[in-house]
Structures are given as structure tokens and as C-alpha cells.
């Protein structure tokens, strides 16, 4: 299991993460980010990619 944290103070809802890890991140009806706080280990590569592409550097994978 991996744990994911998004700093919602930083997040600007660009949705770049959604493209990299669609099972974890999505933009809701009002264009705001929603995400699952935990994900399967198989998502690690995708979540790491999301962490890299987030313009606000808002995503952290909690060890």
C-alpha cells in the first residue's frame, strides 16, 4: 500500500496528475482535485510520475 498526500494549499487543480495516475487522481464536477489517500503498490510508478509533473509540487508519497 502507498499513502498519498496532496497539499491542498499548494494544489491549483491543473489536473496533470490525473493524466499520469487516473486511478488515484481525478477532477470533479467543479474542476477541483479529488484523490484517494491510499493506493495499491502497483500504482507506485504512476503516482511517482504524478508527483514529478505536478507544477505546484503539491503531491507527496508518504513513506
Amino acid at each position: 500500500m502507498i499513502k498519498i498526500q496532496v497539499d491542498m494549499e499548494k494544489c491549483q487543480h491543473y489536473g496533470q496528475c490525473v493524466y499520469e495516475a487516473p486511478n488515484v487522481f481525478k477532477l470533479n464536477e467543479s474542476d477541483k482535485l479529488e484523490y484517494t489517500a491510499t493506493a495499491d503498490d502497483s500504482e507506485l510508478a504512476n503516482v511517482r510520475a504524478a508527483t514529478d509533473v505536478c507544477p505546484m509540487q503539491a503531491i507527496t508519497i508518504v513513506d
Binding site: 491549483q12 491543473y14 489536473g15 496533470q16 490525473v18 477532477l27 474542476d31 509533473v53 507544477p55 509540487q57
Partner: protein
């Protein structure tokens, strides 16, 4: 050896390790800081008093096992002799070399070439010096109406400065996002009290020891305390000279990001990533181009790490096919006041740009087509719809 210790360099080192590279990795950087994120420099760093620690990239040193040589820029490269020379006189040998030295701001020279009160913005040090100079009521002239000029205008206006933007072009951002988009950006800036002097250049500076004003090409004089030059950038390729490479605009690479000489032969050991890499299109028959967007260092670094691992230990990357070509989707965002622009692809290639959804005066999406084919999309707001279209872009 990775030359350039900023985002492109760091991501290359990370990618090398992720794909299984076990050799030594050294990053050489001109700045004295470990890699940090540049985009906040024109935004929150100035507006909200952020520190270097706030914008530094997290680095997992145990995983990365990389050596950083900082504040010692590369000065010479001999590809055939496999040596890199640094300013300090140190020489380093390499098996592979990645060029990630990015850009520096263009500077003008004026007859009355004053220095005090003049700024550019590329590095943390630049931003700190600018932050030290701004205060409410300061009169600021920004030369250039590109993204950095406009973002600075918005940030400094919010901080209470008076802003005059001077730019050669008639419509800001027109060359990048088209006339309609550009006019709307101008309207929104004017609504916030930013003044534009378009179709004009700065001819000279006024002042004796420090800048007190500028003279425009139509004779207008604007008084100011601060002048910021945001008129584009120059690729840092000087250290690559003498190897027969095509350095006419950044460094020319082939489809795999291996650098190419003027005869069109690719190097087998030298790669380029990020803002300095001029790489070919895949789907468009247009000359190779550089892309100065934040996601390009990320994508190119990932790519180069994988290529090097494959070449170093054949079989390490089983899914790498011969003939694969680097074909990233450039993506760009920009925050100015409450305006948040998001763009994918290369809208500037378009010869038509219809509105797809929304209203120009509010939230909208424009699509950019070249001979009918989608080459870019850009908009303000409407993120979900915008993100849905990005998969259809062909470059």
C-alpha cells in the same frame, strides 16, 4: 556526467537510477544551490515571501547516489577525448554526458547603460535581488510581454507597485496563443491597473547613478524605480563549442535526444535535455525546435535515462524498441492575477484557432489547428474539458 544541476539535470539522475543505472553520477552546476523549482520565482516566491527551502526539489540522496559539484560551471568539452573542463580548472572524464544547462535572460545595452535598479529573472538569486527592491508604490517598467513579463506584472501589481509594460509586439502573447487570446489577456491586465505600451521598444535609460526612467522609441518618457528585462532567453551552449555540434539555437539532437554534429551524425554518448534541447517533430514536417516549458525537462530526462541504461547494459530495458522517437506533449501553465492559463501542444504552429467552448470574457477553451490537424489547445478554466482534448494533439 550531467551538466546543469537544475530540474532537467536532477530528473535525469533520478531516471538513470530508476531504470537501473549502477555507475557513478555527477551533476555539475553553475548556481550555488541544489535544484529548485523555477516557476514560483515569478509568482508565490515574490508574492508570498517563500524561501529557498519552500521551492527546493525533494532529493532522495540515498537512492540517487549522486555527487553534486555546485558553483563551478562547465567551460569546455572535448567529446572525442571524453573530458569536461570546469571553471575551477578541474577536469572530469565521462562515459556518457547529458547537457542540461538551460537558458539565461537576454539583456539589452543602452547608450546610458545604468545598472542599478535593473533586473532580470531566471534564478533564485535574481528573484531575491528583485524581492529586495520591490515595495508598495514602487514604479516598475517591465520590458517584454511574454509569460514571465506578464506574470511579474501581475505579482508586482498585487504587491502594490505601479506597472508599465513595454513590448515590441502589438498584442501580448499573440505569437504564442493567437490574437484573440492575447487581446483578452491584455484586457484582464488593464482591468487590474497594468499599463501597456505596445509596438514600442526602450531606446535609452534616464538617470545618473541609478535608473530613474526609460525613453521609448516614440519619445515617451516613463519614470521608474525598477526596470525588469523580460525579453526572452539565450541557450547556455558556450561550453559545448569546438565539437562540431549544431549550436545555432540550443543544441540540435536527433529523435532520441543524442546531440548531432553539423554533418547530421549523432553522438553515441552525449545527450541533451530540457530547455536547451532542439529536437525534431515526429508528425509535423517542420524544422526541429526547442520548447521552453516546464514538462520538457521532465519528459526528456525520463527518456534519456532510459536510453543510457539501454545502451550501457543491453537487455536492461526489455521493452525499448529500436526506432522509438522522443515525442512529448508540451504543456504549459501560467498564473496571472486570477487568470490561470493552461495549454497543451504548440498553439503557435496553428493557422486557425477556433473557440471550442465557453466565453472569451470568462472561462474558455481554444483549439489550434494547422492545416486541419490539432497542434494545440489552450484555455482559461474548464480544466476537465481541456484535459480530455489533449490526447488528440499531433506533433
Amino acid at each position: 556526467m550531467i551538466v546543469g544541476a537544475a530540474m532537467g539535470g536532477l530528473r535525469t539522475a533520478e531516471s538513470l537510477r530508476r531504470f537501473g543505472f549502477t555507475g557513478g553520477i555527477t551533476l555539475v552546476g553553475a548556481e550555488s544551490h541544489l535544484p529548485y523549482n523555477r516557476p514560483p520565482l515569478s509568482k508565490d516566491f515574490l508574492a508570498k515571501g517563500k524561501s529557498l527551502a519552500d521551492i527546493a526539489f525533494p532529493i532522495r540522496h540515498e537512492e540517487l547516489q549522486a555527487e553534486f559539484i555546485l558553483a563551478d560551471p562547465a567551460r569546455s568539452l572535448d567529446i572525442d577525448g571524453s573530458t569536461l573542463g570546469l571553471e575551477s580548472g578541474a577536469k572530469h572524464n565521462f562515459d556518457y554526458l547529458v547537457a542540461a544547462t538551460g537558458l539565461r535572460p537576454k539583456r539589452f545595452s543602452f547608450p546610458n547603460d545604468l545598472n542599478q535598479g535593473r533586473h532580470v529573472l531566471r534564478t533564485y538569486d535574481d528573484a531575491r535581488s528583485l524581492r529586495g527592491a520591490v515595495a508598495p508604490e514602487r514604479r516598475v517598467v517591465i520590458f517584454g510581454a511574454g509569460f514571465i513579463g506578464l506574470e511579474l506584472a501581475a505579482t508586482l501589481r498585487t504587491l502594490g507597485c505601479t506597472i508599465n509594460i513595454v513590448a515590441i509586439e502589438e498584442i501580448p502573447l499573440a505569437g504564442i496563443l493567437g490574437d484573440t487570446f492575447g487581446r483578452e489577456i491584455r484586457r484582464r491586465h488593464e482591468r487590474e491597473g497594468v499599463n501597456f505600451h505596445l509596438g514600442l521598444s526602450i531606446e535609452d535609460l534616464i538617470g545618473t547613478t541609478r535608473i530613474e526612467g526609460v525613453v521609448l522609441s516614440d519619445g515617451t518618457e516613463l519614470h521608474c524605480d525598477i526596470l525588469i528585462e523580460a525579453v526572452g532567453s539565450i541557450p547556455n551552449v558556450d561550453w559545448l563549442t569546438g565539437n562540431g555540434l549544431d549550436l545555432s539555437n540550443g543544441v540540435l539532437t536527433d529523435q532520441t535526444l543524442r546531440v548531432m554534429n553539423e554533418l547530421g551524425t549523432s553522438s553515441d554518448r552525449v545527450f541533451a535535455v530540457g530547455d536547451i534541447a532542439r529536437f525534431p517533430y515526429v508528425a509535423q514536417s517542420l524544422p526541429a525546435r526547442r520548447v521552453e516549458h516546464w514538462n520538457i525537462p521532465i519528459e526528456s530526462a525520463k527518456w534519456v535515462g532510459r536510453q543510457i541504461c539501454h545502451q550501457d547494459k543491453p537487455g536492461l530495458i526489455p521493452d525499448l524498441q529500436t526506432g522509438e522517437r522522443f515525442n512529448p506533449l508540451p504543456s504549459f501553465w501560467s498564473d496571472q492575477f486570477s487568470i490561470s492559463i493552461l495549454s497543451y501542444g504548440e498553439p503557435k504552429l496553428a493557422n486557425e484557432s477556433p473557440l471550442v467552448e465557453g466565453e472569451i470574457s470568462d472561462e474558455f477553451i481554444m483549439s489550434y489547428r494547422r492545416d486541419g490537424e490539432l497542434v494545440g489547445i489552450a484555455g482559461i478554466g474548464m480544466r476537465r474539458e481541456l484535459n480530455k482534448l489533449r490526447g488528440e494533439i499531433r506533433l
